[in-house]
Amino acid sequence: MSTLHIFSKPISYYDNARLVNLIQPQDKVLLVSDACYSINLYRQLAASLLVLAEDASARGIDIVKPDECQNYADFVALTLSTSQSITW
């Protein structure tokens, strides 16, 4: 039972003091679009972040361990391997 949390903006767009309490250790956090810019700041939400590779690459962002690149096939698979998704 895990939830997929999808973020598309830098973390400053969200109320992260509240968000951090809604994400569980077994949950997945996927960064797409402009969320890719603040990977370091998203670290407070998950130990390993999943990042949409295309979006990060267009923004000149490198993905390094412990974070993981995802392509669109992975993105689809993620929505199926989790119980529910939330697009924040």
Partner: protein, 118 residues
């Protein structure tokens, strides 16, 4: 029947976010799914008593929120922390709602098939 959660996080007059969420909640109730609505952040202000939008020339959608009770939508939740942030108490709200701490909100999310953030 599936469990659907509508999530509201926007301030009461921020575009039509709360009204869009109300429409969605009522529709899922109408087609007899197990719908829940969670207000968090400034969205809890949409449930505050003593408001009326007509004096601004706007539709008083606070009245429409009350129709949730007529349509038997019972799973209305508010974030306990957000109530505190805005100096509100569960008794200051126009409809009956359950205040949830973060643990209860996480459990609520886990029980859903779909979570819709409007």
């Amino acid at each position: 029947m599936i469990n659907v959660l509508v999530l509201s996080q926007h301030a009461p007059f921020d575009d039509m976010h709360i009204r869009d969420a109300l429409d969605m909640t009522l529709i899922f109730a109408a087609i007899e799914q197990n719908i829940s609505w969670l207000f968090t952040g400034p969205a809890v202000l949409a449930l505050k008593k003593g408001q009326e939008a007509e004096s601004l020339g706007l539709k008083n959608y606070f009245k429409s929120i009350k129709t949730l009770e007529i349509y038997d939508v019972e799973n209305i939740y508010v974030c306990e922390k957000s109530l505190i942030d805005y100096n509100l108490d569960i008794n200051d709200l126009i409809i009956e709602a359950k205040a949830l701490d973060f643990k209860a909100q996480r459990d609520l999310i886990t029980q859903q098939q779909q979570v819709i953030n409007l």
